[in-house]
């Protein structure tokens, strides 16, 4: 990482409490972290460790009980198109076609029609959904819907990308294809990205740095740098170095 990279996202003493059976329950404990520009960070942890909660706090959906999140040195006050989110559950709007789904955010931004059209078509091609522009989500497979979701978010050119176990509901084959497509899209601008997952291989494959999170309450226990060069290919997962890193993180995770 170059020293000229600025801090894109800063987590400053973020703690969060939920209410459970009338008593406060600590989900996140004093998390302070800096995420640099153009970094792709994966957060991996067991279910219930609070990683999704942390992501939603960064996105602005949840206000942290303590601490704050700074995006470009400005405190995050709520959700914004500058922090694009790809959710775990199916968030593609069923009443809109593929084309109109991807166009949705562009319309909100009041981008003129001709420009919108070229952006939408470009992204439809990028996620390899040519020919499906006028299909409705109910006619699409899970993987295709996910690609629409990703395209929709990227088309808005957000400053930061947040992904919450986005490929968790897909089968292994489709998941791998989508990981590659995500990286392909990401390579173009190398936007700062935060990817939450419980799949260690996925975490390593996509990221520059991996944070391991423990639960009860959630905090980062281990941070690893992913030394592999980009662009990354499928075969990387088979290499000894990759597997070694996976073992290391697996052990850390088991300890969490």
């Amino acid at each position: 990482m170059s020293q000229q990279q600025r801090v894109k996202i800063e987590l400053s003493h973020v703690s969060h409490f939920f209410e459970k059976d009338g008593a406060p329950f600590q989900v996140l404990h004093d998390i302070s972290e800096q995420i640099l520009e153009n970094e792709f960070i994966s957060i991996v942890g067991p279910s219930g460790c609070g990683k999704s909660t942390l992501l939603y706090i960064v996105a602005g959906f949840i206000a942290p009980t303590e601490g704050r999140v700074l995006h470009n040195s400005v405190e995050v006050q709520g959700p914004s198109a500058q922090r694009g989110v790809v959710f775990q559950t199916d968030a593609v709007f069923p009443w809109l076609t593929v084309y109109k789904n991807i166009e949705f955010g562009l319309e909100l931004k009041r981008i003129p029609k001709s420009e919108r059209d070229s952006i939408v078509r470009r992204f439809i091609s990028l996620v390899e959904l040519d020919g499906s522009e006028n299909l409705y989500p109910k006619q699409l497979s899970g993987g295709m819907k996910k690609r629409v979701d990703v395209a929709r978010t990227f088309a808005l050119d957000p400053d930061v990308l947040l992904l919450d176990e986005s490929f968790g509901s897909l089968d292994a084959q489709t998941k791998e294809n989508l990981q590659l497509e995500l990286l392909k899209l990401w390579e173009r601008d190398k936007k700062t990205a935060l990817f939450v997952t419980h799949d260690i291989e996925e975490a390593i494959f996509l990221a520059d740095r991996v944070f391991v999170m423990k639960r009860g309450p959630g905090e980062f226990t281990h941070k690893a740098v992913v030394p592999f060069p980009r662009p990354r290919s499928r075969e990387l997962k088979m290499t000894a170095e990759f597997q070694a890193l996976r073992h290391e993180l697996s052990a850390e995770l088991a300890r969490a």
Binding site: P79, S80, W95, F104, G105, L108
Partner: protein, 251 residues
């Protein structure tokens, strides 16, 4: 290859058997007062006049009540339903509307407004309002939160959340409510006419009871059934395209 469903032998046989049983039961007076199928058909053929005129009354009352009640139901639901707190405020009304035996209100309306249209139409309005209101509010409450969040992360403002996410998402639900209201409007009119009317299918049927004119009674029931089915089909057919994107199968 398209499968064409031919009714099976058993189905056809059963239908024939049903009609046959009816003939036998009526001719040999096995069921008291049961007229033969022929007698019923004769009502339609020989003197349809009164039947048609009474049907018209019921039709008009039902339609007016349905139109106003449904419109109000949708509007009130949309106006108040977007906010979680306002919805919570209306909860008792929703609960009551769901479980109240609405027929209990008929005597109140007759007392307040007199017999005939003056009480029947308001009653049907209220009945349809409850149906549509409850179903619409529930549709709004059931919009998956992830849609609203996704819109936020794409820069949607408060109004845009409502107009571009919630409204389109609830269309199938509201149409479902309209169908239920359409199918219920005419039975509700009928019930009101039983108690306080001098025209309409309800009155026609009750007169049949009093004068023991059972073929007329059956004809009246056929009439109101036809109205209910026609109304439901009308809503379904005209709104089919609006709900084609929905995964739910609406029978």
């Amino acid at each position: 290859m398209r499968f064409v469903r031919f009714p099976s032998v058993v189905t056809v046989g059963s239908l024939v058997g049903f009609v046959g049983l009816w003939f036998v039961a009526s001719t040999y007076h096995l069921i008291p007062y049961l007229p033969t199928p022929i007698d019923v058909v004769l009502v339609f053929v020989e003197h349809p006049g009164p039947l048609l005129s009474h049907t018209l009354h019921t039709l008009v009352r039902g339609l007016v009540g349905l139109a106003f009640g449904s419109a109000l139901g949708v509007l009130v639901a949309l106006f108040f339903g977007w906010n979680r707190y306002i919805r919570a405020f209306f909860m008792p009304t929703v609960v009551a509307a769901k479980s109240i035996p609405v027929l209990a209100l008929i005597p109140i309306f007759i007392l307040w407004f007199g017999i005939g249209e003056k009480s029947i139409v308001p009653f049907v309005v209220v009945g349809c309002f409850f149906i549509v209101f409850v179903i619409s509010i529930e549709a709004i409450a059931n919009v998956p939160t992830v849609y609203v969040w996704a819109a936020s992360a794409m820069g949607a403002s408060g109004t845009q959340h409502y107009t571009r996410v919630i409204l389109p998402a609830i269309v199938p639900g509201i149409i479902g409510g309209l169908r239920v209201a359409a199918a219920s409007a005419f039975p509700l009119t009928l019930a009101a006419e039983f108690l306080g009317a001098q025209q309409g299918l309800g009155y026609y049927i009750i007169k049949g009871v009093a004068l023991l004119q059972v073929p007329e009674m059956i004809a009246g029931v056929v009439g109101v059934t036809a109205l209910a089915v026609a109304a439901d089909s009308a809503v379904r057919l005209t709104t089919g395209r609006l709900t084609s994107w929905s995964e739910r199968v609406v029978p």
